[in-house]
């Protein structure tokens, strides 16, 4: 495999510090690439462990001002109902002015099936509560052409598109995530067509970090394959900004991914767990 890219010298991506808020670490879905979840059986809701509490948000150790971007996400073994999380989102917005990416289509679909509420209603409520973006999760495998067996309970293409349509209807910005394996991204024409039609607010490029997951044998995607993937996306979708979700050492990534065409490098600086 030979990686290639065309570079725009002196371009710099914006290093964006991200604060992560996890609703719960417990999850029954078992996505092979997930580094957050603690696997749990699919239990009925009253037996699920408690999720992130509103009181936890008041803790002094949360550097709200340091984060330029907030992400609320978590596992699917959640005890609290959707309306509780609306309350939490409103509290987060009181504590921080940073744009909030609240829940991904995966969680929205979960609440849709669990509480039997329409997707459009859920998305509208997220917008009402103060969410600035819908998260990008759920599309990474089928967009990247990776085996769907890695996450058999993740969203199908049509389910993800349903949530994306609802977000557009509710005027809530949404993103699409793309998982980059260590062997490099090979975008199919179908994926490009879907992205051109859906027009997400940005593409969230997630290099695979397989340490501690069941994909450990594959290794991690390094800066070279990630930059090459960013470059590939920019060539096919020049009008959609690319953000790189870089969970490892951030040194020089602004210059490297900026040269490849990325607009932002999202670097986690803190994480709040339940």
């Amino acid at each position: 495999m030979a990686v290639s890219f065309s570079l725009e010298p002196e371009q710099r991506a914006l290093l964006t510090p991200v604060g992560r808020l996890s609703t719960s670490r417990m999850c029954w879905a078992g996505c092979a690439f997930c580094r957050l979840a603690i696997s749990s059986p699919r239990m009925s809701l009253p037996d699920a462990p408690p999720g992130l509490s509103v009181d936890r948000l008041q803790a002094d150790d949360i550097a709200w001002d340091a984060a330029a971007f907030l992400k609320l996400r978590g596992g699917l073994s959640i005890k609290e109902p959707f309306d509780y999380w609306l309350h939490l989102i409103r509290r987060i917005k009181e504590l921080s002015q940073a744009p909030l990416m609240a829940f991904s289509p995966v969680e929205v679909w979960y609440f849709h099936t669990q509480e039997r509420r329409p997707v459009r209603e859920l998305v509208r409520l997220l917008k009402w509560a103060g969410a600035d973006f819908l998260g990008s999760g759920g599309a990474e495998l089928w967009l990247s052409g990776l085996p769907l067996e890695w996450a058999p309970y993740r969203l199908t293409q049509s389910e993800w598109l349903t949530v994306a349509d609802a977000a557009r209807a509710a005027d809530l910005r949404f993103a699409a995530s793309i998982l980059v394996p260590p062997t490099g991204l090979s975008l199919s024409p179908d994926s490009i067509k879907v992205l051109q039609d859906v027009k997400p607010h940005h593409l969230d490029v997630k290099p695979l970090v397989s340490d501690g997951t069941h994909l450990g044998a594959l290794g991690n995607a390094n800066v070279v394959v990630t930059a090459s993937s960013v470059n590939q996306l920019r060539q096919h979708l020049p009008e959609v900004p690319v953000y790189v979700d870089w969970a490892e050492e951030p040194e020089d990534t602004d210059a490297i991914f900026g040269s490849a065409g990325a607009e932002r490098v999202l670097v986690p600086i803190w994480e709040v767990l339940p």
């Binding site: 990686v3 570079l7 092979a32 059986p41 069941h214 070279v224 020089d252």
Partner: protein
């Protein structure tokens, strides 16, 4: 054939006690079947070596503006300099001193901690165009992100100071760039090709049996 990516196992014993250094060097070289490069204070019995003190007929590892007597004229010089940030940079004085003393055979670049990647790249490319055709980049000071990026962007860069534990990163990079990875030293012996990493294809991997939940129970 594309330019090979080189791994040069290097041991610097210049600061090690003389009674211990040769033993350490022997142990080091035996780890790589006699291959590897030694940087020492004075000449020793090693096939690939450079000395901190210039010696007549030897390879000099130049780190500063040490004066070299005419009788100690080395036959080849390796200059280790920090990446110059401008014409007045003291690193260029060291480089000029090395060039005036004898033939420059190798240049090892160290990145100052406050120098951004674009500036470092511009400076290094200037050196490549004007001084020497290959630059060895010190992994410790450049960091893995910058090192892999620079090597991927120009085959005239080579990695320096790679520990055996990190050779897999070079192997991954060599595979991505379609370049062979070789173990090299300056003993005159041919390069030793290093095998690639065992390759697990994402398409072939079967994560685990997912018939039952909890999903990630121990597989049979």
């Amino acid at each position: 054939m594309s330019t090979p990516l080189c791994w040069l196992p290097t041991l610097d014993i210049s600061n090690v006690d003389v009674s211990f250094g040769p033993w350490l060097a022997h142990r080091f070289l035996s780890s790589f079947r006699g291959r590897g490069h030694i940087i020492s204070q004075s000449p020793g019995p090693w096939p690939s070596q450079e000395t901190i003190q210039a010696t007549s007929g030897g390879q000099w590892y130049c780190r500063g503006l040490t004066k070299v007597p005419k009788r100690s004229k080395p036959i080849g010089i390796t200059a280790e300099i920090s990446v110059p940030t401008g014409l007045a940079d003291p690193a260029l004085d060291v480089l000029n001193h090395a060039l005036q003393t004898g033939p420059l055979v190798r240049l090892v670049a160290i990145r100052p901690h406050d120098l951004n990647l674009h500036q470092a790249e511009t400076s290094l490319r200037t050196l490549l165009d004007t001084v020497i055709d290959t630059i060895w980049l010190d992994q410790q000071s450049f960091g893995w992100n910058a090192l892999t990026w620079l090597i991927a962007s120009d085959p005239r860069f080579q990695p320096a100071g790679i520990s055996p534990q990190d050779v897999w990163r070079l192997s991954q990079l060599a595979e991505q760039l379609g370049r062979p990875l070789v173990l090299r030293d300056f003993s005159g012996k041919p390069d030793v090709p290093l095998p690639g990493l065992h390759h697990f294809s994402p398409e072939q991997s079967v994560p685990r049996a997912l018939n039952s939940l909890p999903a990630w129970g121990r597989s049979p």
